[in-house]
């Protein structure tokens, strides 16, 4: 290792030490006696599947939750962190996954919130502005202090969060899944900032489930699984494979065996489609493409570039403004709209991207969610009444086939984990044997084991000659599954690539509208 500031300070106590942190939420044991040591001036990765307890642990360090037991040491001294204020006083700041910003206020107002300097703003604002400018320049965090935060792109909002932390004098900065909302280029910029922070002797804790990021930027990494700490490694001495194994507790199948696509006739054709959102903003602009039987077409793009509205329009949840959609021999247009029920009869199935709002009803039992949208099908009823014993059997069948756990058909939807909810929705839509399947963010919030299962199911469906349209913000997922990739930016399709020719840089540029 080269002599970085980190090395020079190695003699002093670690920046943060957690000892035996334990936390329960009702019956869920989120953290079991967790230990963690983070050295000063390090970028320390904290990795684990969704639900492994990373965010809980960091929220405890930040004072958002209080641990049931365990000690927190900062700079070698024991501290009691009962609320955020205590953490801030100890020099700890957190950049949350969902930004903690006040949208209608300016960057400057957001930064000084809580550390205004006195009862009257005018007296302190000029000084704050000066300080903000200094920090911006020092770490390469460019933001206009007078811009309204809600008008800024996500990447800039994240810079505001980091500025906020530094303005408060953070020595230890926690970032929770910071790249989830960023384009690859923005993520690169972020990593440059983190490196600058390290160079200044700040300590960074990077919480993520992306192995690539851990390998690219961290000095040391800790792995959590099922609420426990399962290993600590120096990044230089470990590999993606080892970390992946630690995370899921078994070997990870990195490659997906995929037979060459056996492509048939056009099953879904979209011509000149334009769609507006609820606010009347045109979000899909003159989009045309086709999906053929036996292929998976992936739509890549940074979230918010019209993918959601495109999917909703195709699924019959949103009016078309212009253009047409042809499926199952029928053509839908602005003049001849079709709702979701008719599209389903035409052979279209839809796994919506927001599973808790559109995919199922969280308060419904699994068996009710398992027939949602198909409840009028005679196979589920006996005369005018629903055939509950039959529906129970059907649900049990789906649950077994798709490994939904626990396989209890009367359990409320909200009580399943994200991955199991998703598998239940997948089961419902895929077992109808549609000719066209629309899938939005199929693995958002799903753990690695579940991701693997869902991916295999989608491939199997394609191999049975179905047409699949996949929308995902996860580039890995798009590259892994797609037979063809379309890139969407600002409501338009800006590129088409084959996965074997696509590299991430090129995709990233297309997604950022820069190619």
């Amino acid at each position: 290792m080269v002599a970085s500031p980190a090395r020079q300070r190695d003699a002093t106590a670690p920046a943060v030490e957690l000892r035996g942190i334990d936390k329960r939420f009702g019956t869920v044991h989120a953290n079991r006696s967790v230990d963690l040591v983070v050295q000063r001036g390090h970028i320390h990765g904290l990795i684990g599947e969704n639900g492994a307890g990373k965010s809980t642990l960091m929220s405890i360090l930040y004072g958002f939750y209080t641990a049931d037991s365990g000690d927190i040491l900062v700079g070698g001294k024991e501290v009691r962190i009962a609320e955020s204020r205590d953490a801030i006083a100890a020099g700890i700041e957190m950049v949350h996954q969902h930004f903690m910003l006040v949208d209608p206020m300016t960057v400057l107002e957001n930064v000084i919130l809580g550390v205004e300097g006195g009862a009257l703003l005018r007296r302190h604002v000029p000084k704050a502005r000066e300080e903000l400018r200094r920090i911006s320049a020092e770490y390469g965090l460019n933001v206009d202090p007078d811009a309204v935060v809600g008008d800024l792109p996500v990447g800039a909002q994240q810079r505001v969060e980091i500025l906020k932390a530094l303005y408060r004098g953070a020595e230890i900065l926690i970032l929770d899944e910071p790249t989830g909302v960023l384009t690859p280029q923005e993520a690169t910029d972020l990593f440059r900032v983190l490196a600058a922070l390290r160079a200044q002797g700040k300590t960074v804790i990077l919480v993520t489930h992306k192995l690539r990021e851990i390998m690219a930027i961290t000095d040391r990494v800790s792995v959590m699984r099922a609420g426990q700490m399962v290993g600590h490694r120096d990044t230089a001495d470990t590999s993606r494979e080892e970390l992946g194994e630690l995370m899921i507790g078994r070997k990870l199948a990195t490659r997906l065996d995929k037979a060459p696509a056996n492509i048939g006739a056009v099953a879904l054709e979209v011509r000149g489609l334009s769609v507006r959102d609820i606010q009347g903003v045109q979000r899909v602009k003159d989009v045309s493409f086709a999906v053929r039987a036996g292929e998976i077409v992936g739509i890549a793009g940074v979230s918010g570039n019209g993918q959601t509205e495109l999917m909703e329009a195709l699924a019959g949840m949103r009016r078309l403004e212009a253009g047409s959609v042809t499926v199952g021999g029928a053509t839908v247009s602005a003049e001849h709209p079709a709702f979701a029920d008719r599209l389903r009869k035409l052979g279209m199935a839809h796994v919506p991207e927001d599973r808790l709002r559109t995919g199922l009803v969280p308060a419904f039992a699994a068996r009710e969610s398992a027939i949602l949208g198909y409840q009028d099908d005679p196979m589920y009823s006996r005369g005018p009444l629903l055939d509950w014993p039959g529906i129970d059997r059907h649900t049990q069948g789906l649950m077994e086939k798709y490994e939904v756990k626990p396989p209890i058909s009367r359990l409320r939807g909200a009580l399943f984990s994200g991955g199991n909810q998703q598998k239940l929705i997948m089961a419902r839509e895929m077992e109808r044997d549609p000719t066209v399947l629309l899938v939005g963010q199929p693995t958002r919030g799903v753990d690695i084991g579940g991701i693997d299962f869902i991916h295999r199911r989608l491939i199997a469906m394609r191999d049975r000659g179905k047409a699949i349209l996949l929308v995902s913000v996860e580039l890995d997922e798009i590259l892994r599954l797609s037979d063809r990739i379309l890139v969407m930016f600002d409501g338009r399709l800006v590129g088409e690539l084959l996965p074997e020719n696509a590299d991430e840089r090129q995709l990233g540029l297309l997604m950022a509208g820069a190619a």
Binding site: F25, T56, Y62, F64, Y65, E83, S84, R85, A87, I88, M94, H96, M100, L101, V102, D103, P104, M105, E109, N110, I112, L113, G114, V115, E116, G118, A119, L120, L121, R122
Partner: protein, 323 residues
């Protein structure tokens, strides 16, 4: 000159009617900008009106009456806060409950204490807020045109009118230029951001509902001990809801809210003068129709003439740290 005879009393009446609307409107503004919806303005005003009249009639001191009104309405504000902030109850239901409770309670207490059919005894002039006569009214009043404006619109108003109009720039300044205002604005939009910045969401919101209560108390005292001379059943007559409408019309900002209050007050003043007037081609305007004009205008204005009114993002939502 004849036109002036019409306009001066109309302006004077507008200001008189606007006072409780402005006080309640700014009260609602503080509460809702902090994220607590307040449909209980009406009830708090009514409680203030009763407390002010009752205390003024017993002690003979209008100032003690005002103090009692602020106290009682402030306690109701805290009660609303307890339901909405601490217990995370439904804010609209809590507000409605306050309105119903006070409507009944003032009647009941009035009957028990004063035995005059639920009213308080009529107050003598010494137990009411008086009118301010501006200096040099004698001389300036002689000037044609401006004179009457000076003595009857600018001057000749109740003593509570002046601080009420000063309240609007004050609220504007507090929200825009002070630490407290910045935090109030932030907590109504994003309580999680406030919480993670190390500021107590609960304390801020309690402060806001307390301010709202106190201002409603002043509004109530104005109605029963300045405009009126004693408490009469349900004497606030929907002003709390008009203030709420003005607040929406003003998009939760002080100056536009003042504008909304003045607009409704002017409509009210016009309506009173229109009663019994015979319009060509229509005949005598029915009193009932004239009295509904402000409400019809409210609906028309809110239904589209002011554009989309977007409330503070977190208003109506109790703050829960989710997991």
């Amino acid at each position: 000159m004849e036109q002036l005879d019409q306009i001066v009393p109309l302006l004077a009446a507008t200001i008189r009617v606007a006072v409780p609307l402005i006080l309640a409107g700014i009260a609602g503004l503080f509460s809702e900008r902090s994220g607590v919806v307040d449909v209980g303005l009406e009830g708090k005003m009514l409680a203030g009106a009763f407390a002010a009249a009752a205390v003024a009639s017993i002690t003979g001191s209008v100032w003690l009456g005002l103090l009692a009104a602020i106290g009682v309405a402030g306690v109701l504000g805290i009660l609303h806060g307890f339901v909405c902030i601490t217990q995370r109850g439904d804010q609209v239901v809590s507000g409605v409950a306050v309105n119903i409770l006070i409507s009944g309670l003032t009647m009941t207490l009035g009957l028990a204490w004063f035995e005059q059919g639920g009213q308080t005894p009529p107050l003598p002039a010494s137990a009411r807020f008086g009118v301010v006569v501006l200096p040099f009214s004698e001389t300036i009043g002689q000037i044609p045109g401006i004179g009457r404006f000076y003595t009857e619109v600018l001057g000749g108003q109740n003593i509570l009118v002046y601080p009420t109009f000063a309240l609007v720039p004050l609220a504007w300044w507090v929200l825009g230029s002070t630490r407290f205002g910045l935090r109030i604005r932030a907590v109504g939009e994003s309580p999680a951001a406030v919480d993670t910045a190390g500021i107590s969401v609960v304390r801020l919101r309690y402060a806001a509902v307390l301010i709202a209560g106190a201002l409603c108390g002043v509004a109530g005292a104005y109605i029963s001990t300045a405009q009126g001379a004693g408490f009469v059943r349900d004497m606030t007559g929907g002003r709390g809801f008009l203030a709420l409408a003005a607040l929406v019309l003003g998009k939760w900002r002080p100056w536009p809210t003042l504008f909304g209050c003045l607009l409704f007050a002017a409509l009210d003043a016009v309506a009173i003068r229109l009663q019994g007037v015979v319009l060509p081609g229509i005949g005598a305007v029915p009193v009932e129709f004239v009295q509904t004009i402000p409400y019809i205008m409210t609906i028309i204005l809110l239904a589209g003439f002011v554009g989309r009114a977007i409330p503070p993002k977190a208003s109506g939502l109790p703050y829960v740290k989710d997991r």
